[in-house]
């Protein structure tokens, strides 16, 4: 996959995106951009969210599975992991558990197309930073990311 391939070139590899937006430059200058690991098996959403976060001035690594995500975690420090809940093999909850154990300083936000009460409770127990149900509005995504930045 394009995103993952590019991401593999370097720890802070970025996506091929259109000319950087002004906002991005501004954030990069002030050092406000976050290092974000994006994990979702839905490739369209992965690509779009990756592009969006980059436009917002964050450094993004986007991978389509939790397994690849955990490999990336070994190479690089991330401020935020945005992970889909339901993925084949390793789920978002498994990833959350692993990240909380090994990289406690990294915030994990679960994005999900379908959250049952059980998984929500489990995610909270495991120390999820926030829970973002799909489809979400841009404003909600920004609010969550701003909170991560404020607390980082």
């Amino acid at each position: 996959m394009k995103l993952a391939d590019e991401a593999m070139r370097g720890p802070a590899a970025t996506l091929s995106s259109p000319a950087p937006a002004r906002k991005q430059e501004r954030m990069a200058e002030t050092g406000q951009g976050l290092d974000v690991l994006l994990v979702d098996d839905d490739r369209s959403l992965l690509e779009i969210l990756g592009t969006l976060l980059q436009l917002e001035g964050h450094r993004v690594v986007a991978v389509p599975s939790a397994h690849e995500g955990l490999l990336k975690m070994k190479e690089h420090n991330f401020d935020l992991v945005l992970a889909d809940l339901k993925m084949p093999r390793t789920t978002g909850l498994d990833m959350l558990r692993a990240v909380r154990e090994e990289y406690p300083q990294t915030r994990v936000v679960i994005i999900t197309a379908y959250a049952s009460v059980d998984t929500t409770v489990e995610a909270m127990r495991l120390g999820v930073f926030d829970y973002l149900p799909k489809p979400f509005k841009l404003a909600e995504l920004r609010r969550v990311i701003n909170r991560v930045r404020d607390e980082a």
Binding site: D42, S44, L45, I48, L49, L52, L55, K86, A113, Y114, S116, V117, D118, P133, K134, P135, F136, K137, L138, L141
Partner: protein
Amino acid sequence: MPRRSANQISLKWKVILPIVGIVLVAFVGYTWVSLTTVVRPRSVVPTQHLLAAAISLTALVAALILVLYVLVNRPIQELAAVMRSVEEGDLDRRVHIHSGDELEHLANTFNRMLDEIQAKNRQLVEAGQQLLQSEKLASIGLLAAGVAHEINNPVATISVSAECLLESEQQPDRRRFLLAISEEADRIGGIVRKLLDFDRGGHDRFSDCNLVGAVDRAMEESRREAERSGVTLASDLQLDGHRVQGQCDQLRQAFASIIDNAIRAMPHGGRLEVRARVHEPWIVLTFTDTGSGIAEEHLDHIFDPFFTTREVGEGFGLGLAVAYAVVRRHGGEISAESGPKGTTFTIKLPDMDARANAA
């Protein structure tokens, strides 16, 4: 065994008396004929007399047999006929015997038995329907969970993309198109969320719920819609502080669905009255509208998921199905009666106070 009144004659006597009658008449007749023949010379007794005696004797015997037939055989025939039709599956027929004897008693017992079978039968059919309904709801829940995942992913991509473009777009026409994409994506998200309510509601905790408040809130939500259609909303809620254990918000949603449904049945105005009463061990809520009523062929399906008589785009037939699911989850019952003058929905919920007192 029910006590028989004084004027009732037992079956035994109904059989014995005619036979005794026949024997007596035969004996008297015989004696009379023999006496007259013995005492007087044979020529003295006119043949007509003998003939008359024979005819009246026969008539009497026939009459007694008829009596026997009417009193005993006819009721038995009636009983047998009804039994045959029951055997063929017709449980509606009843035996009508007013003979005041054991046969009437037998018939009454038989009728009571039929009543009971019919009631049990009805319960069985209802239970079957409820099972079917809950299976339908369960399958909707499963479907919802699967569909939600498949749909929400692309919808999220569409929604985020449209919003991103919208932020940097100045040209009004383009903005309008992008806005349409964004809003419609939201709408799809809303539909999926509603579908998911089926599955989600089941997990909410039960707590003390003030039904009066839930009804009031549901009515308040619909007030504007009601005013637009010229519908008067009235409530008469007398629960004397009785509560139910439940998911208050889910119940409010169920009430709102019924109220919304009623308002839509009265596009040219009308009146909707919500009543609440305690009928231990139930709390009974009725929603009575003066609308056009629900067609008989629809009445059996109104609680089915995705059943709707509305135009496409005006709801997709989950409101009443959700109401049904919610009420059943609370151990209650919901039903609808409808006629040309309107519809009444009745919801029965377990009265916690009554149960607490009984326990």
